[in-house]
């Protein structure tokens, strides 16, 4: 995978130059390198009533200006002289003095190279220069506008927290930390993208997650060597086991509660700055069909919902194909009355069943795609109304038979029942392949395709974990959470899918 993108030659000039001792030189160099943009703030002021000048360099919009004004500039300008402290001579000593005694912000650091300083300033920190010192104090002052924490758009629940990740990684880590107040929680940071320098956090529980797994995740992430990483999708595609497979090998979520439970299962979460979509690895097929609501509701409801989803998954992929196969090859399988009425309603239809099915499913795909682009309120209505209207008109025009419309509607609804959006996308693709098979060989083709899909799933792994666990390597303990959802008090052990280190999650199984 690393060989997919060739190494690009270094294009940026060498920035590991040390800072200049003189303030003007530093400021000029900065302005020149950055191209003197409008949002670059360079505010010079003096310390005390000495002739020492300082300058604060930051980007407007990225920084919390109140912080800079109050805690930095004001302190140096006003509070320092008022406190009567003696300023050491210019140099590292003075900066350390400022750092310790004057500045009242939490995060401060000393940097001495341009590169390091640019990294921080471009990320939203402020650099404080003092004339005569070839070092700078970098103050964490990130305070840009972010979206408020809102209900996750793609994963709404009826019962469950309504907090979703935002584009700010700090908010996201906060959300996770609030749910995992354990000392064993680890947030390992990384920087991906050579030029976008996006922050990435690998989250896991030190005493639960399999160390080999964490190691492997880190190893794969370290191989990323591109200019920019915009969305976690890129990360997903980079680290997945099989890029040719239509099936997703990472779980994508906007929900911090999902991430938290995944961490307790011994899995690893990857959060990326700039996107609310976090990744969870490893994932298995059954996990993609689980929804947090299965756990928040009582076990009977959870079990039934889950079984329904498995049925929905089957329908979403196989309904149009079964329709084509039955109508074209095996009408004997359909109950007599239904067979006659289907034949009756298909009397005037010009197309063979397969073409009809293809048309309708393709139209449905178009509608779904269109619905995504339209603004929220219109999008949903267009989807529903469009489907109904088009279906009705197609039927009265004699282009398709009513049964086909029902089948397609069923398929669409079934695929909406899949909790994982990326899996639903997969099903949309596979649906077509299975339809082709049905058109060629009827039910036989559908069965062969079914088998072929399973062959593929059996061979697929997600970070080394076979995709069909716990069906395939039969981990019977995990079956308590598979098709059924056993009552809470039964689930004493952690799922073994990730081979966690710590197996027990509940001390005793007794209900109160």
């Amino acid at each position: 995978m690393a060989s997919q993108l060739k190494r690009r030659p270094q294009q940026t000039p060498d920035l590991s130059t040390p800072l200049y001792p003189r303030l003007e030189e530093n400021l000029t160099a900065i302005k020149q390198t950055l191209g003197n943009p409008q949002d670059l703030i360079v505010r010079t002021f003096s310390i005390d009533n000495t002739s020492l000048t300082c300058a604060v360099v930051c980007f407007d919009g990225l920084v919390d200006s109140d912080l800079i004004n109050d805690k930095v500039v004001k302190h140096i300008q006003l509070t320092l002289p008022a406190s009567g402290k003696k300023l050491p001579p210019p140099g590292e000593e003075m900066l350390t003095f400022l750092l310790r005694e004057v500045l009242s912000t939490i995060e401060v650091k000393l940097e001495s190279t341009f590169e390091a300083m640019y990294d921080r300033v471009l990320a939203g920190d402020t650099a404080l220069f003092v004339d005569g010192t070839a070092q700078t104090i970098v103050i964490d002052s990130r305070g840009w506008q972010t979206r408020t924490i809102d209900e996750p758009v793609s994963e709404g629940l009826v019962r469950g927290p309504r907090e979703g990740f935002t584009e700010n990684i700090r908010d996201n880590t906060m959300l996770v930390r609030r749910r995992v107040r354990d000392v064993q929680l680890r947030f390992d940071t990384m920087n991906v993208g050579r030029r976008s320098k996006t922050d990435l956090i690998i989250a896991y529980m030190q005493d639960i997650a399999n160390p080999a797994l964490v190691q492997e995740v880190k190893r794969r992430l370290a191989t990323i060597d591109v200019d920019e990483v915009e969305e976690s999708g890129f990360i997903e595609q980079w680290i997945e086991d099989d890029f040719l497979s239509p099936f997703p090998q990472c779980q994508v979520t906007e929900r911090p509660d999902k991430v938290a439970s995944a961490l307790f299962q011994g899995r690893v979460a990857i959060l990326l700055d700039g996107t609310p979509m976090g990744l969870i690895v490893p994932v298995t097929f059954s996990m993609l069909l689980h929804s947090p609501e299965d756990f928040y509701e009582r076990w009977i409801v959870g079990t039934l919902a889950r079984l329904l989803r498995y049925v929905a998954a089957f329908l979403a992929v196989f309904s149009p194909a079964l329709y084509v196969a039955l109508v074209t090859y095996h009408p004997g399988l359909i109950p007599s009355d239904l067979a006659f009425s289907i034949a009756a309603t298909r009397e005037g239809v010009p197309f063979p069943a397969f073409v009809e099915a293809l048309l309708m499913v393709a139209t449905m795909e178009l509608l779904q795609e269109a619905g995504l682009r339209l603004p929220k309120p219109i999008g949903q209505t267009v989807g529903i109304v469009g489907g109904l209207v088009i279906g009705e008109s197609a039927v009265s025009a004699g282009l398709v038979s009513p049964v086909m419309v029902i089948v397609v509607a069923l398929t669409a609804i079934a695929s909406f029942a899949i909790p994982a959006y990326n899996l639903a996308l997969t099903f949309r693709m596979i649906r077509f392949v299975v339809m082709f098979a049905a058109a060629i060989f009827g039910l036989y083709g559908v069965v062969l395709m079914f088998v072929a899909i399973f062959i593929h799933l059996a061979n697929l792994t997600s970070l080394g974990v076979p995709y069909l666990t716990p069906f395939a390597p039969q981990l019977l303990n995990d079956w308590k959470d598979l098709l059924l959802r056993a009552p809470v008090t039964f689930m004493r052990k952690r799922p073994e899918t990730g081979q966690p280190k710590d197996h027990i999650r509940m001390k005793t199984g007794d209900a109160p």
């Binding site: 399999n210 080999a212 399988l333 062959i455 970070l463 080394g464």
Partner: protein
């Protein structure tokens, strides 16, 4: 990426049981009622099934014993240990040939039955070709994935077969069932012979024991694995005779499918359940085929070590296809099957048993 230790290389005992059960449930399940009904009268064929099944269990157990003496050796290796390399070459090659024939037979079986029950105009060549392609796809993947597919498909197959039996129970006529115990022992044994021959499959344990987590459990897993098909065969036979009567059963080419034809699901939702039954049956044949194909490749690779697995798949597939297309009609096909089972008795049962005896006598063990 082996960071998940359980993921790959070793099969658990429970999984081995399922694999063996799947390998045995094959074409035989469709035809065996006829061959037993031909010999025995009325209901008593179930005893034949039991006897035949017990015989296979015993043989399978001994095969398991042989394989588990050498828990980490391939077939070729331990045969070489027992009788020397030249014989090992010969015997492994023979086994390879036998398994090629098995794959061809099963593949053609699917083609024939699909042609008879699902299609009328489609040429049997295309049907068989499509099936062979899917089998190839499976074999080209990892071995463990192939074996894991067994775990997924067997429950479905068993469920459908049991459902078929349940729903047809209401057609059971007691007059077909009684009288009990009216056949004599010699006829029962004759029937048992048919059962034993149609239950080929346990010999795969010779090759797969080295993949097991606990190889010493191999014999036990063979017995458990065979118990499933034996019980299944028994119940199927009983239901078939009860519903059809022995006189009719010996006239039906595929009594099991005819049984499925009679199922009427209440509510009239599905009518021709035999198509459903049949599609499920394809899954178990698929498993059997992939296992045999995998065995062929393993056997041949131990002899000709230089060719890669994919090369073997490319070479073998046309051969298998051509062999599969050889029988020109149903009769030739069934004769092919019969002869194949006799060959199997020699290569898969007699020779390994001989090897086991030699190994015991010469005290050959793993450590050598």
């Amino acid at each position: 990426m082996n960071n998940v230790p359980y993921a790959d290389q070793k099969i658990r005992t429970r999984e081995m049981v399922i694999i063996i059960a799947n390998a045995v449930i094959g074409v035989g399940i469709l035809t065996f009622p006829r061959s037993i009904a031909k010999e025995t009268d009325a209901f008593d064929g179930w005893i034949s099934v039991l006897i035949g099944g017990a015989a296979v269990c015993l043989i399978g157990w001994l095969l398991g014993k042989l394989a588990s003496r050498f828990p980490t050796r391939t077939y070729f290796d331990y045969v070489a240990l027992i009788v020397g390399r030249p014989f090992a070459y010969l015997l492994t090659l023979l086994f390879g040939v036998y398994s090629i024939l098995m794959v061809s037979f099963e593949v053609r079986a699917v083609g024939n039955i699909a042609k008879q029950y699902l299609f009328t105009n489609t040429p049997v060549e295309m049907i068989t070709l499509a099936f062979l392609l899917i089998v190839q796809y499976a074999v080209a993947g990892s071995r463990m994935a192939l074996l894991r597919l067994n775990l997924i498909f067997l429950p479905i197959v068993l469920l459908v077969i049991l459902m078929v039996q349940m729903y047809t129970l209401r057609f059971l006529e007691w007059e077909n069932v009684r009288p009990f115990f009216s056949t004599d022992w010699t006829t029962l044994l004759k029937g048992a012979k048919g059962v034993t021959l149609s239950m080929s499959g346990p010999e795969i344990v010779l090759f797969y024991t080295l993949l097991m987590k606990r190889p010493q459990d191999a014999p036990k897993s063979v017995i458990l694995g065979l118990a499933i098909p034996v019980l299944l065969y028994m119940t199927i036979y009983m239901v078939i005779i009860g519903v059809f009567s022995a006189a009719v059963a010996r006239n039906l080419t595929f009594p099991t499918i005819e049984l499925a034809k009679g199922v009427e699901v209440p509510g009239g939702f599905i009518e021709r359940v035999e198509s459903l039954f049949f599609t499920i049956w394809i899954m178990t044949i698929f498993n059997t085929c992939t296992i045999w194909f995998d065995l062929t490749i393993t056997a041949l690779r131990s002899v000709f070590t230089r060719l890669s697995k994919f090369a073997w798949i490319l070479i073998l597939s046309p051969i298998i296809y051509l062999i599969a297309m050889q029988p020109q009609n149903q009769v030739e096909f069934l004769t092919f099957g019969d002869r194949l089972s006799y060959i199997g008795v020699v290569i898969a049962y007699a020779i390994p048993l001989l090897l086991l005896t030699i190994a015991k006598l010469r005290g050959v063990k793993e450590s050598d």
